[in-house]
């Protein structure tokens, strides 16, 4: 396939909306990076307690939210994610004691930067979810999915050579 024809259009975002409008079947892809000790465990608890949430969420396990390199987030958007979530232990509860304090600064700055570049705030979120908060885990997943569905597919920062905007 030639690069040219797949380059996202300038109005990629709006194009996405239209696509969504026509194609009811569109389902957002949301990548959730969860720290192993709190949020991923919270996800396990949600599972053990059978707390349902949309299957749009796909979790990637990282040891600590402070492992989150902003490049991973951009990469996800580039490859077609419609939303990205980073979840970690509540400040003060970090398994590595200080990781999430650093994350709070790093990702606050980064969130504002990509919003400045034109990404809708809802598309990138950071949440603190403890290992005992299975309910919060599923709640956050439901909320995020709903928010992204309302926004429609993401064309911004996306590289058309990968996942198509359906």
């Amino acid at each position: 396939m030639s690069l040219a024809q797949n380059r996202p259009k300038t109005e990629a975002a709006t194009a996405g909306m239209e696509a969504a409008a026509q194609d009811r079947a569109w389902e957002p892809l949301i990548v959730a990076f969860c720290c192993n000790w709190c949020s991923y465990a919270g996800g396990d608890l949600a599972g053990t307690s059978r707390m349902q949430y949309p299957s749009n969420i796909k979790v990637i396990r990282v040891p600590c939210s402070s492992r989150m390199n902003p490049l991973f987030i951009l990469r996800a958007f580039q490859r077609g994610a419609d939303g990205v979530l980073v979840a970690g232990c509540h400040p003060g509860d970090c398994h590595y004691s200080t990781g999430n304090y650093l994350v709070r600064r790093r990702l606050s700055a980064f969130k504002r930067l990509i919003e400045f570049a034109g990404l809708e705030p809802e598309r990138f979120e950071v949440r603190w979810i403890s290992s005992s908060e299975g309910d919060k885990f599923s709640e956050v997943m439901r909320e995020m999915t709903a928010a992204i569905k309302a926004l429609g597919p993401n064309g911004k920062l996306r590289d058309g050579r990968w996942r198509k905007i359906t």
Binding site: L102, L107, A109, R127, W128
Partner: protein, 325 residues
């Protein structure tokens, strides 16, 4: 300043000549005139002859600190002429262990701000200027037998118009008398203007800007905080991003380039000045400076080498740009 700065150049030359010829330094980093009268380029002076070419005028925008990293590999001790921004750049490099401070002699040059050729062209109202004269805050542009005088502030480089620290900090020797403190109320106005737009409008704006990017990396080469031995854009393992000049790749490059400067960028604007296609890169850097100052307390990179960069530290009660419910 033009006519007087002859003496300035002489004065500077006088001081550094002693150190260079006495062998106190092996090399002096300064400026010399380029092909055009409106260009001053880096000078690498090793002897009297080289020193003769040393020039200090309103076009010495190039940040010399950055050259220290390489020059110190070959030279034991290097002297360097530093404007306000260059001095803060040196502090950053020292803070990042890129430059051993003890092997540098920093000559401080209080800086009235450098001139922007494009602005001069404008001031010349179409005629091709062949030189300028400066006197108490006025710049007179000569060209086609006509002389047009404009206030100096109007023809400054953007980076200088918003400069808060024209006087070099932490120098070994201050060569000229300090200039007055400056205010920069407009520093974040462009950022704020952009912030007021809708997400889509902002995206459209940046997409249009970044479409032009040639991925020549001049911004990176000019930047005093881009001190990596190998930049992430060139890495094969992992391949962070492809070399293709492609919208999402360009976003990725520029967002991360800016993010790598978070809490480290001294706002010297060399990246923007170096950009051949005129992308307003400094806006991205200033956005980060502005937000980090708002969220985590005022911090000016390079001002105080002892102060920890904001992203390397934290306070348990820090605010967040996301919901902590």
């Amino acid at each position: 300043m033009a006519e007087n700065n002859v003496d300035y150049s002489a004065k500077i030359r006088g001081v550094v000549a002693q150190d260079l010829l006495s062998g106190r330094i092996d090399l002096l980093l300064g400026w010399e005139k380029g092909h055009y009268w409106w260009q001053s380029r880096p000078l690498f002076a090793r002897d009297q002859a080289d020193l003769e070419r040393l020039a200090w005028d309103s076009f010495c925008a190039v940040n010399l600190s950055r050259y220290l990293v390489d020059e110190l590999k070959e030279n034991k001790k290097v002297g360097v002429l530093l404007k306000g921004c260059d001095a803060r750049a040196l502090n950053r490099l020292v803070q990042d262990n890129m430059v051993p401070r003890e092997r540098v002699i920093a000559y401080g040059l209080p800086c009235p701000g450098m001139l922007n050729y494009a602005a001069l062209l404008e001031a010349a109202a179409g005629r091709k200027p062949d030189g300028i004269a400066e006197e108490n805050g006025q710049v007179t542009v000569r060209g086609g037998g006509v002389e047009l005088t404009v206030p100096r502030d109007r023809v400054l480089l953007d980076k200088c118009r918003h400069c808060l620290y024209p006087n070099p900090v932490h120098c070994d020797q201050l060569l000229l008398t300090p200039v007055g403190e400056r205010q920069a109320p407009e520093r974040f106005s462009a950022v704020q203007e952009r912030e007021s737009l809708s997400s889509d409008a902002r995206f459209a704006y940046w997409e249009k800007q970044l479409e032009r990017c040639l991925r020549c990396y001049a911004c990176r080469q000019a930047c005093p905080y881009c001190s990596c031995r190998e930049c992430f854009v060139e890495q094969e393992q992992p391949r962070w991003l492809s070399k293709a000049s492609q919208p999402s790749e360009n976003f990725m490059f520029h967002l991360i380039r800016a993010y790598h400067g978070a809490g480290r960028c001294i706002d010297c604007g060399e990246c923007q000045r170096a950009c051949p296609v005129g992308i307003p890169l400094q806006e991205l850097n200033r956005k980060l400076i502005k937000d980090i100052n708002e969220l985590y307390g005022h911090y000016e990179a390079g001002l105080d080498p002892g102060q920890e960069p904001p992203l390397l530290t934290y306070r348990p009660d820090d605010p967040a740009a996301f919901s902590e419910k």
